[in-house]
């Protein structure tokens, strides 16, 4: 085990955090810093990152603060699947905001994803398999090709 001579021998690394904003709480600031680092890591390594807001001990008002700070970008997606899931790209491409609702319209969880495109938006291989078979069957049934 390496021994450290004294406190001054411990290397200190500073990272640029988000500048403190009058309306941002410490928890939101910490999350923004985490997102900034995740976005940079994604650029370097391609590793995606997901923050599940429901699991964090922050207040609902702070969810809204974070969402407002990140803003809304060019893409909004609504997925009607066992209830509505709303996804939008924030004003920072690569950072997406995901809200999962159940069939009663209640919010199940809110997540922030650092990725090119959230997996849920893509068509799934299993669904494509089923669609191919279904389309072929429908065409055969009508007895004519387009």
């Amino acid at each position: 085990m390496a021994s450290v001579g004294g406190l001054s021998d411990i290397p200190v690394v500073t990272t640029e955090g988000i500048a403190p904003d009058a309306g941002v709480t410490p928890a939101v600031q910490a999350l923004l810093t985490e997102l900034a680092e995740s976005l940079e890591a994604f650029r370097r390594t391609g590793n995606t990152h997901v923050i599940d807001l429901r699991s964090l001990p922050i207040r609902l008002e702070e969810h809204a603060l974070l969402r407002d700070w990140l803003g809304v970008g060019e893409v909004t997606v609504e997925i009607d699947s066992l209830g509505l899931t709303s996804i939008h790209e924030t004003a920072y491409p690569g950072i997406w905001w995901v809200i999962h609702r159940n069939r009663e319209g209640e919010i199940m969880t809110q997540q922030v994803e650092v990725t090119r495109c959230p997996a849920l938006i893509h068509s799934q291989p299993e669904d494509i398999d089923e669609a191919a078979a279904r389309l072929r069957a429908a065409l055969t049934h009508t007895g004519e090709m387009p």
Partner: protein, 364 residues
Amino acid sequence: MTRPTLAQQLARQGISRRAFLKFCAATASMMALPPGMAPAIAEQLGRRTRPSVIWLSFQECTGCTESLTRSHSPTVENLIFDLISLDYHHTLQAASGEAAELAREQAMEEGGYLVLVDGSIPTKDGGIHSTIAGMTNLDMLAHTVKDAAAVVAIGTCAAFGGIPKADPNPTGAKGVAALMADGSIASKPLINVSGCPPIPVVITGVLAHYLTFGSVPELDNLGRPRAYFGDSIHDRCYRRPFYDAGKFAKTFDDEGARKGWCLYELGCKGPTTHNACATAKWNMGTSFPIESGHGCIGCSEPDFWDAGSFYKPLSAPAGDVSGLVGGAVAAGAVAGAAAGLYARSQKRKAAASREKMTVDDLKD
């Protein structure tokens, strides 16, 4: 006949893979797992066959079933029940009488099923104080647990005996763990989901964990899942800054109470109670007792009903100490220590001879 996998089952019901992935994301969140695990959960869950679940209700108030049917993510009528195939449940099933008992026997034939129990089990006088279809609860539980894969005791009654066990315990009520310990029923992997009732999302989260991993989650020393019972209410309470600053409400309608100060002096049992109320909260994350202005009553702990007044602080003795420490109980470390020692012996006595709550307790 091989049972279909969950993925096959859902596909047949017209539920897309995308919907299944969304469900797994919500499940990961519910199980307090890293959200990046959702694809792995989808992979695992999709491959499993639909397990049978038998729900046995014994000496209970039906509050735990009420709590489960308020679970909202995902809704009980939807995926969880589709996934777990609830083969037997008095309140929720359509069949009754002999048809219902036959359903239970059929579900048991294949073995490897999950048994959920709510309510305590009476053991006095041969267990005759609660019977179903002429069978004592104890016999039904012993018979059903024999070939089960695992047992989940839902609610403080099933976990620790609960309110029926409160002194003088006229029916000889016991929890499932106690019956496994004394050999009355077979020993099986057991998860205690305590609470009176438990928080809905905790019930479904535990079921989701079992479905996904096929195993019991990490448990604390009382057999409760650490993911939900690892922290005390006090550790995660939003009023903790007031406790730390020494700001306490003295009555339920004083300035401190109106300002939302700590409820320690009004009897809050938060420091000695482990549950997820302060984070997961109740009624879809709306609130929990402390946030509504009433101290925690410790309902997820064993024998909470016999642990002294809900309205006297934890540091105060459960009985009259004016002769011992001269009155001013709450002030001074020495008085507090002496009171603490006295309180412990009084609590043992209170457990032996139950203290009835009086109007004076409310006046403190």
